[in-house]
Amino acid sequence: MRLGDIGQIALVVAFALAAYGLVSAALGGVHRRPEMVASARGAGYGVALLVSVASLVLLAALLTKDFTLRYVYENTSRDAPLDVTLSGFWGGQAGSLLFWAWALALLGAVVLAVEFRSYRALMPGFLGTLFAIQIFFLAVLAFVSSPFQQHPAALPDGRGLNPLLWDDGMRIHPPLLLAGYMSFSVPFAFAMAALLSGRLRREWLQPVRRWMLVAWGIQGAGLLAGAWWAYHVLGWGGYWGWDPVENVALLPWLTATAFLHSVMAQERRGLFKVWNLGLVIASFALAIFGTFVVRSGVLASVHSFAQSTVGPVFFAFLGVTLVAALCLLFYRLPQLPPEGHLDSVASREASFLLNNFLLLSIAAATFWGTIFPLVSELTRGAKVTVGGPFYQQVNGPLALGLLVLMGLGPLLAWRRTSLMALWRNVRWPLAAGLLVGIVLFALGVQRGLAALAFAAAAFTLGSIGLEFWRGVRARRAMTGEPRPVALWHLVARARRRYGGYLVHLSMVLIAFGVIGSSFYQTEHVVTFRKGETHSVGRYTFTYQGMAEHVEPGVVAIVAPLSAADGATALGTLAPERRIHRNWEQQPVSGVAYQTTLPWLEDIYVILSGWGDDGSATFRIYINPLVSLIWLGGAVFLLGTLIAAWPAAARPRASVLRPAPQEVLVAEA
């Protein structure tokens, strides 16, 4: 028996076990037989084990370069270094699906271990939904597009991985997105469990919110890693190209962001119940759509879709899931009445409504733009391209609205806010925004729109700062702690709130970066002879001559430029062109970049060509504020971790602060 056979057998057995688990969970739920549900839980762990075996087999085959497997042949080669070989795991269709299924099996096992006891009543529905998803993926893997397909005889060497996928970013970006897509299954399964069991009170909210936050955080990290990859590897001076792959990855993140907010109105006030369930269903459906849209080739053209092995199967699955989930939701409608009503437009819950409207508008417009080429091809046979300018013009104003609202919403109280209170809260952030707008305008930021956008970001920054400042002040008044300690305790005591505000802060930082670079990026194409010096904007560059490096499977041509800002030397920027064996038609540019202080500008250099006379042509971008996007990314991760951190079982409020007398009495 060969290695590949073991992997294939593990997949088939995992499929059968998942089918058993589904039946067992369903019967256990319907006939109220706890031992059957427990057996289904065991099957969940079993599936995790078997899919792990299959995945480890594929990894072993890649590492030992077992070219009897077609997948290994297509995704690595003998001279590929270790890390590139590992990326081959998710470099192709079958492998990426196996990764998806593996991650879901493992996450499912973790969720079972953590939540089984706390949510017994939801478990039959949860397990059943999770198994149904697993069954589909395992069936595709085992019977339609298997990574363990074999060649009759081993081939001498593999074709190798696409060179764009060689970069470090490839180690982190695709697996994060696949893991993000996959993890939307968990909140979806809890929501389905609530609908199936009819337990639609508060019980299901906590696990759904917790796991939605996890999925949303992973997806957000994946999007940021993708932006990082585009900027540092693809070499076109930008970080977000609005290409279909990026767009579809953004969609479930947007609907999940909407959910994280509107669910607060349900927790507090019992509002928007049906809407929230709809958002969970939509997020999952969009995650499946995102996983598959790329693989199915449907966006490239209708013809490649018809030829793809997995496309039609996937869309069938998506259709069935949506119909089933929506029917179930419709059936339970009578059990989901709102428990209250809106009291005022100037209230927290109304601001969440507006937040949802903006987020969903961005999602819908992005979806429409992404599928429009397909619509055009189907209706009149001619394809069109919907590129960056469309999305910028449509989503730009909506995002600006979101930015302002992000500063306003947290200042509003639940139920209603009097105008006086609103004014008291809003005046300082407003002053900050106005000040920044006016100062920028006076300093020569003549583009009104740019000044407006910066002012909006400053307003929201002020509002977030105010929230933190007030919290710290209130805590100091009570405990007399020094400021940093007070801040630490403040965040630790109300993780969800201040984690959320940190995420808001990260969005403001990213907004600054996006505004700065989209309005003020400059691009220069300069040809240097050896030893020549040219100046670009504030900076001067001297070309030092070209050199070649030969690495296994790769030839790199390096052309170093030494940069200076006035009299200050900035060091050497060494952009390259890398030519990979078997992929000579697709040279990859190695970007050189440096962030300058105090301007926070990125000097971003690409080697675009050279002549016989030893001259070289460079494309030099000056990108203002882009580094704030990566700083924002770090804050995003921090904030998400804080918000998602499980709360301590019991608040320890009375340890540090003597509680008011009445409370002590009540507790005694």
Binding site: G241, H341, A350, Q585, P587, S589
Partner: protein, 162 residues
């Protein structure tokens, strides 16, 4: 030895494709502008100006040649549309079938706004319908009561934090 000659071959091949850029800055800027509006046919949604692929490189060269020959920006774009189809335009034209993408993008937020307004008015009206229950308050008393309530809610929210 073999590696050396391979490298030499690659360099020659590649240098041929990577023609040095003309010194005329104005022309170059114009060529970039046009390149920004065209999609690189072998990339995902990258413009001809931004892409580093060989095809994009050749297209940029072609744009330059045509500019030097005195063609206008519109003529050059029309030439590419004729050769590659409308798909080559990165921004869908605002006429013919393609304007639907713009109308759709306008319609989506509008429908959203209408929905939000309908929901809000509906929910606010419900509140009014229930209002008679507290009608024995005078308007003044009601306002006082509500401001106290708002304060209490705010208070409760703050104490929940610690």
């Amino acid at each position: 030895m073999l590696k050396r000659s391979l490298l030499a071959l690659l360099l020659v091949l590649f240098a041929a494709a990577a023609t040095p850029v003309s010194a005329d800055g104005h022309l170059e800027r114009q060529a970039l502008e046009i390149g920004k509006q065209l999609r690189c046919p072998v990339c995902q949604n990258l413009s001809v100006a931004d892409s580093s692929s060989q095809l994009a490189e050749q297209m940029r060269e072609l744009i330059r040649k045509r500019l030097e020959a005195g063609e206008s920006r519109e003529q050059i774009i029309a030439y590419f549309v004729e050769r590659y189809g409308e798909e080559i335009l990165l921004d869908p034209p605002r006429q013919g079938f393609s304007q639907l993408v713009w109308w759709g993008a306008l319609l989506i937020p509008l429908v959203g706004v209408v929905l939000v307004v309908v929901v809000v008015r509906d929910r606010l009206r419900q509140r009014e319908a229930e209002a008679p229950a507290v009608a024995f308050f005078s308007e003044e008393e009601r306002q006082r009561y509500e401001s106290i309530l708002a304060q209490e809610i705010e208070q409760a929210e703050r104490t929940r934090l610690w």
